[in-house]
């Protein structure tokens, strides 16, 4: 058995896994990689499921990499195979079909799973496997299967009204897609406002207005307490205040949490996610983790926490892959960032975009008429948060400044000016960007 240990074993088949494969192949063209994934699909992009459901893209465009990706990268892809346990001491991964895969280097990139709140009238196969929601007409929204199941439900039952539970990124994208399919949508959000993590109050208001213009109803500061059903199919969502929102479809979009079932009892250290260092190493030698299943250091707060966003997943996967293949790579900086269009209103949120109070200096520019809003948050002369609504052009310059911790005190007055650009910034930094030495995420 020992002799056929896989040099590189990758669990997962999404952004982080692909980042790892590409990084391994940059250093090691030959040694086979074994990739194991529960979903029996060629690698696809999860954030695109809302575009697919909305009918904006076809199935071919869902694929994140070309159809010959595995072959060209000498990846033995075992799709439709679920890894169920890791034995860190024996260096073996067990799969649901009873097989054991011995590895030299392991990457756990199995992602997150939808968080499903406790709601009366909602039945699951088990609490552990909250993905499998059994009440007909009730769905989560994180995978292609979810999008396909919703599409099938729409085609079969022609629902007219939808309730989306959760007014974050997933909820808004789900609402958009359902709107595009002609449904009347109500979003129920626990917080007092939309996108409470990414936006500040004023930006939330602009986003709420965009929703209202699209005919979407927003119910904030509310929770769905119970689901009503008729003949096993959902017929309404009852709020904690007793109000009932009649609907024929419910999408649970409260958020995602790292899916830790695979590593439970393995000895690999976990908190909310699998704890990784700046080289994406876990507490067990030779075992790496990346993407939504992991948690690393947030460079703005200094805390270790999951930051389940796409660019991070890729970067973490790439850093893990490089280190697995004997190279040397570290995560340089990490903070939350999101680009999301809210019913046609573009928004970009970087880092501590909504921060206020002691220690923070906040610069704001609002053009009510143009629905354009910018907010820059400074701490000790450095940008730690930025928010753009309506006009997102050149938002990445701010991301770069945050990434590199550039002191912008001297350019402070110009950060929100029309003529803001690289020319406004310290000459050394400008040279760094322009000379194209490569800029680390």
């Amino acid at each position: 058995m020992k002799s056929d240990r896989t040099k590189y074993l990758v669990l997962g088949n999404s952004t982080a896994a692909i980042g790892a494969v590409e990084a391994i192949r940059a250093l090691d063209r030959a040694t086979p990689i074994v990739l194991v994934s529960k979903e029996p699909r060629h690698v696809y992009s999860r954030p695109l499921i809302s575009y697919l459901l909305a009918g904006e893209i076809d199935e071919e465009r869902m694929y994140y990499r070309p159809r010959d990706f595995y072959e060209r990268n000498r990846v033995e892809a075992r799709l439709g195979v679920e890894a169920v346990g890791v034995d860190a001491r024996a260096r073996v991964v067990r799969t649901a079909d009873g097989a054991e895969l011995a590895f030299e280097k392991l990457l756990v990139a199995t992602g997150g799973r939808p968080f499903v709140p406790k709601i009366e009238g909602l039945s699951y196969t088990s609490w552990d496997d909250a993905r499998v929601v059994r009440t007909e007409g009730v769905f989560t929204f994180t995978s292609w299967d979810d999008a396909a199941a919703i599409a099938a439900h729409l085609e079969e039952h022609h629902p007219a009204r939808a309730v989306v539970v959760g007014g974050g990124l997933i909820g808004i994208k789900a609402a958009e897609a359902l709107c595009a399919r002609g449904l009347r949508v109500t979003i129920v959000e626990l917080a007092e406002r939309l996108l409470p993590l990414a936006l500040d109050r004023r930006a939330s208001e602009l986003a709420a207005r965009a929703c209202a213009d699209a005919g979407v109803e927003l119910v904030c500061g509310a929770t769905v307490k119970a689901l009503r059903s008729q003949g096993g199919r959902v017929s309404g969502a009852q709020l904690a205040d007793g109000r009932v929102l009649p609907c024929e479809i419910v999408v649970l979009a409260v958020g995602v949490v790292p899916d830790l079932r695979l590593v439970e009892g393995s000895g690999i250290r976990t908190e909310r996610g699998i704890v990784i260092d700046d080289r994406c190493r876990t507490s067990v030698e030779g075992v790496f983790a990346a993407g939504d299943v992991a948690q690393g250091r947030d460079s703005l707060s200094g805390e270790s926490r999951p930051i389940p966003i796409f660019p991070h997943a890729y970067r973490q996967g790439a850093v893990a892959g490089t280190n697995m293949a004997g190279g040397e790579a570290r995560l340089e900086s990490a903070f939350a960032m999101n680009s999301v269009e809210v019913f046609g209103l573009p928004t970009v949120s970087l880092g501590l975009a909504a921060a206020e109070g002691d220690g923070y200096e906040v610069l704001v520019r609002l053009d009510e008429q143009a629905r354009a809003y910018k907010r820059i948050v400074l701490r000790d002369g450095r940008i730690v948060g930025a928010l753009f609504v309506g006009d997102i052009d050149r938002a990445g310059i701010f991301a770069g400044l945050m990434r590199h911790g550039v002191d912008v005190s001297a350019a402070r007055e110009l950060l929100l000016a029309d003529q803001f650009g690289l020319l406004t910034l310290p000459a050394e930094y400008r040279k760094h960007v322009v000379e194209g030495e490569g800029v680390e995420v």
Binding site: R315, G396, E437
Partner: protein
């Protein structure tokens, strides 16, 4: 790989590079038609920044370690294996603007005619991109560094 570099000390701020890029990207390829009839739908891949008396032209840096490629949710932003240029496959781009969110040069813009990312593609196939070719004071160079 060859990249476009600006020399701030020579830049006159005339913006001819922007115009030449627009013409190159136009359907007609003719200056007057491009500016009068097509401009509303065109986004130049280069832009001139000005601050006081200093100006310089900036376009996609085609970074070796390009954050836009990593951030692209659609697999649309890719490196051309031949030239090394970072290119956006408009047939795959969904206009999520993740590339705009991460580009440290602010060199990706929203397209006007279609909802896709718009940026410098180094005019693949041209010996010298028209922005460089047409710069009256040789403030733009196209070279390997």
């Amino acid at each position: 790989m060859k990249r476009i570099f600006a020399r701030e000390e020579y830049c006159l701020g005339c913006r001819l590079c922007e115009i030449n890029c627009l013409v190159k990207r136009s359907r007609s390829k003719r200056l007057i038609k491009a500016l009068r009839r097509e401009r509303h739908a065109l986004v130049p891949g280069v832009r001139v920044e000005e601050a006081g008396r200093v100006s310089f032209a900036l376009q996609c840096r085609h970074c070796d370690d390009a954050p836009c490629i990593e951030a692209c949710i659609a697999g649309a932003m890719r490196r051309d294996p031949g030239t090394g240029a970072v290119l956006c496959d408009e047939a795959r781009c969904v206009g999520c603007w993740s590339c705009i969110m991460v580009c440290p040069a602010g060199a990706v813009l929203r397209g006007k005619a279609r909802k896709v990312a718009s940026k410098c593609d180094l005019c693949a196939g041209e010996a010298t991109p028209p922005c460089v070719e047409g710069c009256p004071n040789e403030a733009l160079t196209y070279e390997e560094r």
